[in-house]
């Protein structure tokens, strides 16, 4: 009996370090008759920088939507930072996303009418606890400026509208928005696809440093295998998926 308990304790202890756990997740988009995603198991530990690799059309963005709680799986469980998203109401999922997750899109990442600083502070709009964390050492505004500064966006650029920024600068602002208030997980959906190689490296380096500084878990999807060196772990999406047809 004792070894079994010990084994269970060990597994439990290991699971406590998990930031993402997907079990038997199945999902198909409404209106789509064909089955789309079937992920028997996906586990990502806290603080890891994980690259999810897969060619276009394998359901990478759909998986990110599931992890973000923007859509809910048809079956199975998704736990993010210890919270089973399947058990949360849609409103609670939105709150959870606001408080615990930072998201970087592929491109056109900023509200076009907002200044860079406004776009960063937008992440705190629906997340009071995250706002409190961001304001711990001053105001959220100061923290946003600090983060932008670390990512190479000076105060002048911080007050510029997104239309006045280059694509690379916009991606850094988006990274600052994802990182402000120390979220548990940063999800990035091919954030470097619009950048050239040199800028890709710079951006990934900055992002990695900041994610490490805030002890967040980074999950990034891409079809570009040249950036595997920048990550602790590389997962091939095809290996996670039991079946995938007509993916989104």
């Amino acid at each position: 009996m004792t070894p079994l308990v010990a084994a269970a304790d060990t597994a439990d202890a290991r699971d406590k370090g998990l930031m993402v756990r997907c079990t038997d997740v199945r999902f198909s988009w409404p209106g789509s008759r064909r089955f789309t995603l079937d992920i028997p198991s996906l586990r990502i530990a806290r603080g890891r920088r994980v690259l999810l690799l897969g060619p276009s059309g394998t359901g990478k963005s759909t998986l990110l939507s599931l992890l973000a709680g923007i859509v809910a799986p048809d079956n199975g469980a998704i736990e993010i930072a210890g919270e089973n998203l399947s058990r949360l109401s849609p409103a609670a999922r939105d709150r959870h996303r606001a408080e615990r997750l930072g998201i970087i899109f592929q491109m056109f990442n900023l509200l076009p009418y907002g200044r860079a600083i406004d776009n960063v502070l937008l992440a705190l709009q629906f997340a009071p606890a995250r706002r409190a964390r961001a304001s711990r050492e001053g105001s959220a505004y100061t923290e946003a400026l600090r983060l932008l500064g670390r990512l190479g966006i000076d105060d002048t650029l911080a007050r510029a509208t997104s239309a006045q920024l280059s694509v690379g600068q916009q991606q850094r602002v988006a990274a600052a928005r994802a990182l402000i208030g120390q979220p548990d997980v940063v999800i990035a959906d091919e954030p470097t696809s619009a950048l050239d190689r040199a800028r890709q490296r710079d951006f990934l380096s900055l992002l990695s440093d900041e994610v490490a500084a805030s002890d967040a878990t980074l999950i990034m999807v891409s079809h570009d295998e040249t950036m595997v060196d920048a990550f602790d772990e590389v997962l091939h999406l095809e290996s996670l998926i039991a079946s995938s047809e007509a993916p989104q």
Partner: protein, 419 residues
């Protein structure tokens, strides 16, 4: 950034289309409020055509008909009232003053009114305003004439000018009283009432120009010159109607009853206010039509705004996805679109109302002078205010259409929007 600020910034980023939508709403609100102001002004002007007169007495007919021909100079009397009957009526103890009116002739399409100088003392319009002479004075001589403001302006008449009265009411007449010309001795200031379109002469003058007329045509064998008639007894034999002021308004019903039951002649007494109300009911359909047109214009402007919001929705899917990514609930996305619609509508209502008052301030004097339509520079009535609130509410409601589509997009897109 809170939701209204987000909505404002979003609109500011699309300012050309946003301003056009807001202007469309502003113009429709201007039209609505303008129509309301003109409608109220017209109603007030209509009601203000006569005031201070307690009763109008005339040959027995419908009250609206009596009001129309005696006050508005529209249509004709079914019959005349004999001078003897008029004397009986005006000698009643309730009567404080009375003004006889005799209609039937015209000058180049304008009615000629035979009356007494008491007309200039007792006729009141627009809440107790008296008739004022712009030039000259009252008629004194037998062939003096006082012109209403529109008559003088339209025909270019001045004091001292000679005019000829025609028999009957046609704009073109073949039976002029050319041998008995009148001299213009006075021109009245603009009143915005039918007085402006009237030529006023004495009752005796009406008798004088018809002294040699028998059975509706001139007696060619017994022609009388102007000098001849001056020597005659020109006491009136009949009048068309009479305006009557009573010593006390409490006596109105007793007086009316006495007149209506007068046995010697079929006459009637009508209360101007009651007759005006009846008349307004008849023309009320036009008001309804105006209100419907205003409503349709507002609806069109609101639909234009919705079209603008819907047209930009597709290119804003990324914006919605960003908001969802930072934890905005689908209903927040709905709120953003509804807030945008609300801001546009509220802005349109405010701009429209301010613009209308600015225009009103600038041109209401001109409107009064040109059309005799007095438009009060008053704050919006409670009905107008509630309608404006209703327009904003309608803007919010129609804003639900693009909001619903944005909601559907935000649920369906997840993080998949690529452009």
């Amino acid at each position: 950034m809170n939701l209204p600020r987000l909505a404002l910034m979003s609109l500011a980023s699309r300012w050309p289309t946003a301003i056009l939508s807001m202007l469309a709403i502003a113009f429709s609100v201007m039209l609505f409020l303008g129509v309301e102001k003109v409608r109220n002004g017209a109603r007030a002007s209509f009601a203000d055509t006569i005031s201070g007169t307690d009763v109008i007495v005339g040959a027995r007919a419908g009250s609206v008909q009596l009001l129309l021909y005696s006050v508005f100079r529209i249509g004709n009397a079914t019959n005349n009232v004999t001078w003897q009957t008029y004397e009986t009526v005006r000698s009643r103890p309730e009567v404080e003053w009375s003004v006889p009116l005799s209609l039937g002739d015209s000058h180049r399409g304008y009615r000629v009114l035979g009356t007494t100088t008491g007309y200039f003392d007792h006729y009141r319009y627009r809440r107790d305003r008296e008739l004022v002479f712009k030039e000259g004075t009252r008629f004194d001589d037998l062939f003096d004439a006082v012109l209403g403001a529109d008559v003088a302006a339209a025909l270019g008449y001045k004091i001292g000018q000679s005019i000829i009265v025609s028999h009957g009411l046609g704009r073109v007449s073949f039976t002029d009283h050319a041998d008995k010309p009148f001299t213009v001795v006075g021109i009245l200031a603009k009143t915005g009432t039918p007085v402006d379109r009237t030529v006023h002469v004495s009752l005796e003058a009406i008798e004088a120009i018809h002294a040699d007329w028998r059975g509706g045509s001139r007696d060619m064998r017994n022609k009388l010159s102007a000098e001849d008639v001056r020597k005659m007894d020109l006491s009136p034999k009949a009048i068309t109607a009479a305006l009557v002021g009573l010593k006390s308004r409490l006596q109105v019903f007793r007086f009316r009853s006495a007149v209506n039951s007068y046995r010697e002649e079929a006459i009637t007494a009508v209360l101007p206010g009651v007759a005006l109300a009846e008349l307004w009911e008849l023309v009320g359909q036009a008001e309804t039509a105006l209100a419907i047109v205003s409503g349709m214009v507002i609806l069109t402007a609101l639909l234009g705004m919705v079209t603008m919001l819907l047209a930009t929705l597709n290119e804003r899917r990324r914006e919605m996805a960003i908001l969802r990514s930072v934890g905005a609930r689908p209903r927040t996305v709905v709120g953003l679109l509804v807030a945008e619609a609300g801001i546009l509508t509220l802005g349109g209502v405010i701009v429209g109302a301010l613009a209308l008052y600015a225009v009103l301030f600038a041109v209401r004097g001109l409107i009064d002078d040109r059309f005799g339509l007095y438009i009060a520079f008053s704050p919006p009535t409670s009905w107008e205010l509630w309608t404006l609130v209703g327009i904003v509410a309608a803007g919010l409601v129609v804003g639900l259409i693009p909001a619903w589509r944005a909601y559907r997009h935000s649920l369906a897109d997840g993080m998949l929007v690529r452009s």
